[in-house]
């Protein structure tokens, strides 16, 4: 059954790539330790690291810009960026390392930038080791990048494969019971396929508000959403 999206959902938004896409890893920490030689004249990282010419870099992932306490004095530009809500994640750090002045006008970090994306990825992998580990503090920053891809209208006419949906459904049934019981968490069985697909795309685009569902939906490709819709539509 071809799926037609209603006008409620815009098609032009950027969304995550299919789950089949390979992970975009953040690089090799060992090589990154060598790349860090560019930085170590001004920045310390690791046990006992202190502020020097630049602030220490422990715990930088997930940290708002210009927020190291103690007595470090940031440039006005970086202070302003921090106040405006700049937080150091993989993407912001990557942009900053590529060309500091592009991201933060007036930064005092006198560094021309790392042109090579691999070098940036490697040094970020190295720095990542000195920030909270999600295994210990699950709310810590991601260590992998979310791949993104443009959504084309054709993929919305997909006929779902229920066999593939059955495999994918194991991610759903940790919470949603396959017998249709809806205590505390809604039932997702025996929905019309179109309703199911519309709901999932609404989560995927964060039009529907639930954070768990947004996260799950953003990892599903359009084929995968169609497959799940087909599987759950006919489940006994």
């Amino acid at each position: 059954m071809p799926i037609r999206l209603s006008g409620a959902i815009a098609l032009s938004l950027l969304i995550s790539a299919p789950g089949a896409a390979l992970a975009d890893e953040i690089g090799d920490a060992e090589r990154g330790a060598e790349v860090f030689d560019y930085c170590s004249g001004c920045h310390e990282v690791g046990k006992g690291a202190e502020n020097g010419i630049g602030p220490h870099l422990n715990g930088i992932f997930g940290r708002p810009a210009a927020s190291v306490a103690d007595d470090y004095h940031y440039s006005e530009g970086l202070e302003r960026a921090g106040a405006d809500g700049l937080v150091w994640h993989l993407d912001t750090l990557d942009a900053y390392l590529e060309n500091p002045k592009t991201l933060v006008s007036g930064t005092r970090m006198s560094f021309d930038g790392l042109e090579d994306p691999q070098e940036r990825a490697d040094v970020l992998a190295y720095l990542r080791k000195f920030s909270d580990n999600p295994q210990n503090i699950p709310e810590a920053d991601p260590t992998a990048r979310k791949p993104e891809v443009e959504l084309s209208p054709e993929v919305l006419e997909i006929v779902g494969d229920p066999e593939y949906g059955e495999y994918l459904s194991s991610e759903c049934t940790t919470c949603h019971q396959s017998d249709g019981n809806d205590e505390g968490i809604p039932s997702i069985t025996n929905w019309p396929e179109e309703d199911f697909v519309l709901a999932m795309h609404a989560y995927k685009r964060e039009i529907r508000p639930h954070p768990v569902m947004q996260m799950m939906a953003q990892r599903l490709s359009d084929e995968e959403i169609a497959a799940l819709a087909a599987y759950f539509a006919d489940i006994q």
Binding site: A20, A23, N133, A140, T143, T174, G184
Partner: protein, 420 residues
Amino acid sequence: MTMNRRAFIGTGVAASAALSAPMLNAQGKPRVVVIGGGAGGATAARYIAKDSKGAIDVTLVEPTRSYYTCFFSNLYIGGFRKLGSIAHSYGTLASEFGINVIHDWATGIDREARTVTLAGGTVLPYDRLILSPGIDFVEGAVPGWDTTAQNAMPHAYKAGSQTELLKAQVEAMPEGGLFAMVAPPNPYRCPPGPYERVSMVAHLLKEINPTAKILVADPKPKFSKMALFQEGWRNHYAGMIEWLGPDFGGGNVKVDPAAMTVDIDGTVENVDVCNVIPAQKAGRICDLAGITEGNWAPVVPHTMQSRVDENIHVLGDSTDQGDMPKSGFSANSQAKVAAMAVRGALTGSKVFPAKFSNTCWSLINTDDGVKVGASYEATDEKISKVDGFISQTGEDAALRERTYEESLGWYAGITEDMFG
């Protein structure tokens, strides 16, 4: 759809190539032995049996007949659940899914011969072995405490009689008494668990012993959902809970179970109840199998295979896998990836790329639920976090109530997913 699937397989993970040759078994059906009947093991056994439709012979080895989930055991302490409501049996796995459930301890693994020996003397041959034994404690982690002291100072970090004992001790505290917790260093089972427990003990004490106090000695400067718990403790249990991080000596603790004292950085406190949650390591059978490095068993993220032995898959708390927290949800998620890989290896069934996810709900007070979660993917190096979310401080009561109700739904869902 075939076009989509072809594209899908074409970009599939490297691991699927290694799994593409099905193993033939001269004796007939391939055999899978699963050790440990918790969130990892029960799920893996059920999914392999269910999806192979009888083509694989599945044996589940679990010492206890009644399994108490560690998740939600804090809610029993708080009075929100009956102990019986977190107990589960293996009847459906045996009757409906044809799993051979053996209640015994696994005492040895011969990786060359591919056999498991049980305490009762039975020897089980396997083609693939799945180890999901949960945690054990690091000896000497808290000076003065070992497992012989677990009646005086319970850990209650394996659910069941220990949980019951801890709750009984809290209920028996003298008026205005002191409950102490020695929190564990990273990494350990259920990162928010100790702090949910503090919340649940506080909830119980507020009802039955409101002048009692709670003291937490913690070697970690930060813990999971810290801002959410500290906000909740201020709002619901003002003046009751004192948390001492490493800056205040929380990492320098000795206990004396005979005298019922706790020494925090040289200051000795008399305590009425002491919950010691020691540093943790992989369940002992992983050590016996020789697949641990340091305290944990390293695994290949795409399949959850041991990095030491490709015929063994390891799940849940025992693994060193990367970013996923040690939780029941994680173990359940990893189990499905392993089940798929095992079926692919033994029967040639299709293997899709691994996907992992986790959500941890915690209860702070009546109808005050919070959650943290993330999605993960397999890279060659580790399981990497891709995206995540966490409840926010200052959320309104209706959302928190909804989050709690959601956790009840999740409990019903995951236990059905594990036990059928």
